[in-house]
């Protein structure tokens, strides 16, 4: 059991996906518009996940695409188009959907930080978990 436990923790390579970065804001009152948070990754891993075109199409309306382009650039992805075609089609645009799938779901930020664009308040990402918890004096 101890071996399983230690293996599990050491091999834990998952981290915050760019999909999640696209949804995070500074939780402090009055900062709802402080979006996107600046993304400063210091450790990234990549892990394949089964491609599902329909799922990516389903995700896209929830994504702020400009923010995704920004986040992608911070992890070295620069091959995405400036704009998405409308409507997006699972057959016609399969290569683009695969690129979006990779960007949104297969990049893991294990270590780094998120920074509020207004207050410069830093939210650390440690062991793949962004800590958005506020201190007592910030609540």
């Amino acid at each position: 059991k101890t071996i399983v436990r230690l293996w599990c923790r050491r091999s834990s390579a998952r981290g915050m996906r760019l999909l999640t970065h696209n949804l995070l804001i500074n939780p402090m009152k009055g900062f709802e518009q402080a979006f996107p948070l600046k993304l400063i990754p210091t450790k990234i891993t990549k892990e394949e996940i089964k491609f599902n075109a329909a799922f990516v199409v389903h995700l896209l309306p929830k994504i702020d695409y400009k923010v995704l382009l920004y986040a992608a650039s911070t992890v070295g992805i620069k091959n995405l188009p400036a704009e998405l075609p409308r409507p997006i089609d699972a057959t016609q645009h399969v290569d683009l959907l695969k690129a979006l799938h990779h960007t949104l779901l297969e990049i893991h930020v294990e270590e780094g930080k998120l920074v509020c664009p207004k207050s410069e308040r830093e939210f650390p990402i440690k062991q793949g978990i962004p800590n958005m918890r506020l201190n007592e004096d910030e609540v």
Binding site: R5, C8, R17, I25
Partner: protein
Amino acid sequence: RMSTSPPKIAESDSDGEGALFSDSSDDGVQAAPGDRSAHSSENFSVPTAVTKKNDEKDIREKTLPAAESKGVKATEKAIKDPDISHLSSEDFKHVYSPSEDTFLLLDAINADAKYLRARFNIPAPEPSPPADSEKGKNSVEGEGPDTVSEGKGAAASPPPGHVFCAEVGVGSGMVLTHTARVLGGHGYFMGVDINPEAALRAKWTLERNKIPLFDVIGGDLLTPLLHRLRNSLDIVIFNPPYVPTPSEEVGVGGIVASWAGGKKGREVLDRLLPVLPDVLSAKGLFYLVAVKENDPEDIHAIMAKSGFVAEKVAQRQVHNEDLRIYRYSRPGAPSQLLPVES
């Protein structure tokens, strides 16, 4: 037994029947092989009069409810509980150890498996019948999102659904993991916990159980995600700190945060309720664990103001706690609520 027909619109908190509604203790019920007896929790002291955990070891003695219901043949076994063998007594000093309330919530989600799949158009975790060749879909292995054939036939039938699911207070990750498994991994599963130690354990649990798409964040309720998740969450789950305690114990942090509920055990829940109508999708569901002391009727009334109806999907008397699981939804019966397969 839970019915598998489309849900009736519950007008009041009516008592249900079946294995999930039990007033008796667990005496005499056979343990499911290997599954829950292994999840005995450590016994450590709780500083309040109403203890969330009882003094004996919390051994899961009830068997998993079968998928059968009156007149409906079981087509699948209930999904096994998640593997949490990677968590030790050391971990349970930091994170809430799965206890009777956790298990009741797992039971409720198990019982709702067909309802959930029908509501969100998720294929069942078994091979499609051979006659469905025109759909061209692969069978779902039960793990990982299905690969939809690219384009061909996608217009002919609706693609498998996907859920956006969030658990507030994800703790050890057991409930979120199990929900993901029941849904065959079809979706994006988010866990939030105010205690970053808990968030880490939840991440290990989700990984160990091979949930494909998830993220766990440290944070208070849903606040870091609220603004971006308008009308987006299909399932929200919350096993709140429901124990009535002095208000000063709320927000103390660490593991106490998992039970200290303040006045009527409602102080934390009452901060989440107002945001749910904004964040839940049209078909969205909210699963809540509550005890009688939380004044469930009052919770129902608050939710009803935003058009939600309550359904009590499970109840169990465990020592000094009258535990309930409620499911809130917006009423209505669009055609999408019919089962995917006949």
